[in-house]
């Protein structure tokens, strides 16, 4: 069966200059650098592996508790804990050298200079295929989301990163804004090759037993199926607002969900929280999307992109 599927449906998609063998990527922060999933997933069948956020210096992240379950979703306030770009190169990229999959490094920073610093350090690393600039993390005090909620700073970070690399540059947007299309236009105008969305919605949960917030940091980012309707709406808005390709994510659990995002205008999609629920999700979605197309006589998965009938 699977053989037949891969033979009849062309699963490759184009993201600017990047040609991916599948539209299924992994969402940053939910897949580490892939190693932990190697027992569950054939990493080489992924369209791309988007790493956990990497910063110039090591970041400690936020105090625990860092997660809370919510109806059909979860909150996290990990806070971009990571060992810094140097350790990332030594450990993660070294391990990834043995895996044939496009690697997109998710870049974090408190300042424009820090974002650029990470990219500059990575430019000499052959194992990096592109960058995803995270201007939308709700879990750090300065930088992060602050860049992603207004057009001017969003454009500035993008322009500075663009100047630092000729590699594919994806900018990841925050959903915590009044007009996501406006921000999308700003970053596309500043040179982004693609836009990914959505990052998490800022949320909160309270323990009625202790009268305390469930997250030590009080607020955190909401992800999972609960946010899918919001994510889909934003992908649809952004796909209509800009010419660059869109990578859609937010609550994708199965191939039907993935198809919804592509119909709304996404050229590729990312699996996030679902990796925790079922570590094989990315493979299931990949196979399921191929089957979805085959069953409908669709020859190329890319034909789904924007095929919504309104």
């Amino acid at each position: 069966m699977r053989e037949g599927v891969t033979h009849t449906v062309d699963m490759s998609v184009k993201l600017g200059n990047l040609i991916l063998r599948s539209p299924v990527l992994t969402a940053s922060g939910t897949f580490a650098s892939g190693r932990e999933f190697a027992d569950f997933v054939d990493l080489e069948r992924l369209g791309g592996l988007v790493t956990k956020g990497v910063s110039l210096e090591p970041w400690e992240g936020n105090p625990a508790p860092r997660i809370a379950e919510t109806p059909s979703g979860m909150l996290n306030s990990i806070g971009l804990q990571n060992p810094g770009v140097e350790a990332f190169c030594k450990k993660d990229l070294a391990w990834l050298a043995g895996v044939d999959v496009p690697v997109i490094v998710n870049v974090s920073g408190h300042t424009v200079a820090e974002y650029v610093g990470v990219i500059e350090r990575l430019e000499s690393e052959p194992r990096v295929d592109g960058y995803e600039v995270n201007i939308s993390c709700p879990n750090v005090d300065s930088g992060g989301m602050a860049f992603g909620t207004a057009c001017v700073p969003a454009g500035e970070v993008t322009r500075a990163c663009r100047a630092a690399t000729r590699r594919p540059l994806i900018v990841k947007l925050s959903p915590n804004v009044t007009d996501v299309a406006e921000i999308a236009r700003a970053v596309a105008g500043a040179g982004a090759d693609a836009i990914s969305l959505i990052n998490t919605l800022l949320g909160m949960a309270i323990d009625t037993g202790t009268f305390r917030p469930r997250l030590a940091r009080v607020v955190g980012g909401l992800s999972g199926p609960a946010i899918k309707p919001v994510a889909l709406r934003m992908v649809w808005q952004v796909a209509h607002a800009v010419d660059v390709p869109v990578i859609g994510m937010g609550g994708i659990m199965d191939a039907e969900d993935a198809a919804e995002f592509m119909l709304a205008g996404a050229s590729a999609i990312s699996i996030g929280t679902a990796n925790f629920v079922d570590p094989t999700t990315s493979m299931r979605v990949s196979d399921g999307l191929a089957e979805f197309c085959r069953a409908r006589g669709i020859r190329r998965v890319s034909e789904l992109t924007g095929a919504l009938r309104t």
Partner: protein, 272 residues
């Protein structure tokens, strides 16, 4: 333990479809579920856990981590306390129903070569991960002393198992309905004074584990503790389960749940 995964290579975890063989109440609010899980049963080591998906339809999205209490042939046994949505659903599952788990997971108890006498200190459901350990120690000829605490006699979990394998078995209950009246830490203190022990293993409420660890340190006996943390992935990818140690932040799901007490920075650690 704490980072030295070298000493416990184990098998890689896998996603396993399992079937409920039996699911019974063993005390008020406590159940024992027996799962047909041949791969996990064949490979799990004492102190490891499984990440269980109790329902696919539920609005409660995440898996739930549970220690493997015992293995019998192709079956694993899980002792669980009914607390919230997930464990309530678990209690409703009957024989024949299917679930899936990821396992075996985590870094379990270390059994250093040459030890001859170990003390196991369990508070409440803390008995769960100590079951397999007690059996394994006994099988290896290590003398086992067990101190088991609970609010009341009825809640002394896994008493039969410990009575069978332990050379010495002491209990403490809050209401004095069985054994010493008071906390199990009191029993632990006397045992540390009484017996010549090579190692203390403990699991239970974090506050209790902390006291036991301090008592062991005082007595110059090394101590292993099994910590509970909120876990999303269970496989080391999400960084939700961090534990502060003197070697930096560790992940309870892969570097633990069992840690050498001496490495823990208790003062900064989270009480669930």
């Amino acid at each position: 333990m704490g980072g030295c995964a070298c000493s416990q290579p184990g098998v890689p975890p896998a996603l396993e479809n399992v079937e409920v063989v039996a699911n019974d109440r063993v005390a008020s609010g406590v159940g024992l579920v027996v799962l047909h899980a041949p791969r996990t049963a064949a490979t799990v080591r004492p102190g490891q856990f499984v990440h269980l998906r109790i329902s696919r339809e539920s609005a409660a999205l995440l898996r739930r981590p549970f220690s493997v209490h015992r293995v019998r042939g192709e079956r694993i046994e899980i002792l669980y306390q009914v607390l919230g949505t997930g464990t309530r659903l678990l209690a409703e599952r009957g024989a024949g129903e299917e679930m899936d788990l990821i396992g075996p997971l985590g870094h379990g108890w270390e059994i250093p070569p040459g030890i001859t006498h170990a003390l196991l200190v369990a508070g409440g459901l803390g008995a769960a991960p100590l079951g397999m350990l007690a059996e394994e120690l006994a099988a290896r000829g290590v003398a086992v002393t067990v101190a088991l605490g609970a609010p009341t006699e009825e809640r002394l979990i896994a008493r039969d198992l410990f009575e069978t394998v332990a050379r010495r078995f002491e209990t403490a209950t809050d209401d004095g309905s069985c054994g010493v009246e008071g906390f199990v830490t009191g029993v632990c203190e006397s045992l540390l004074a009484d017996e010549a022990l090579d190692l203390v293993y403990t699991c239970g409420p974090e506050q209790m584990q902390r006291i036991v660890a301090a008592q062991a340190a005082e007595a110059g006996v090394s101590c292993q503790v099994s910590l509970e943390r909120l876990m999303a992935c269970g496989i080391g990818a999400c960084l939700s389960c961090v534990v502060r140690t003197n070697e930096g932040q560790k992940r309870a799901c892969v570097d633990g749940p069992v840690f050498d007490a001496a490495t823990l920075l208790w003062d900064r650690s989270e009480i669930l």
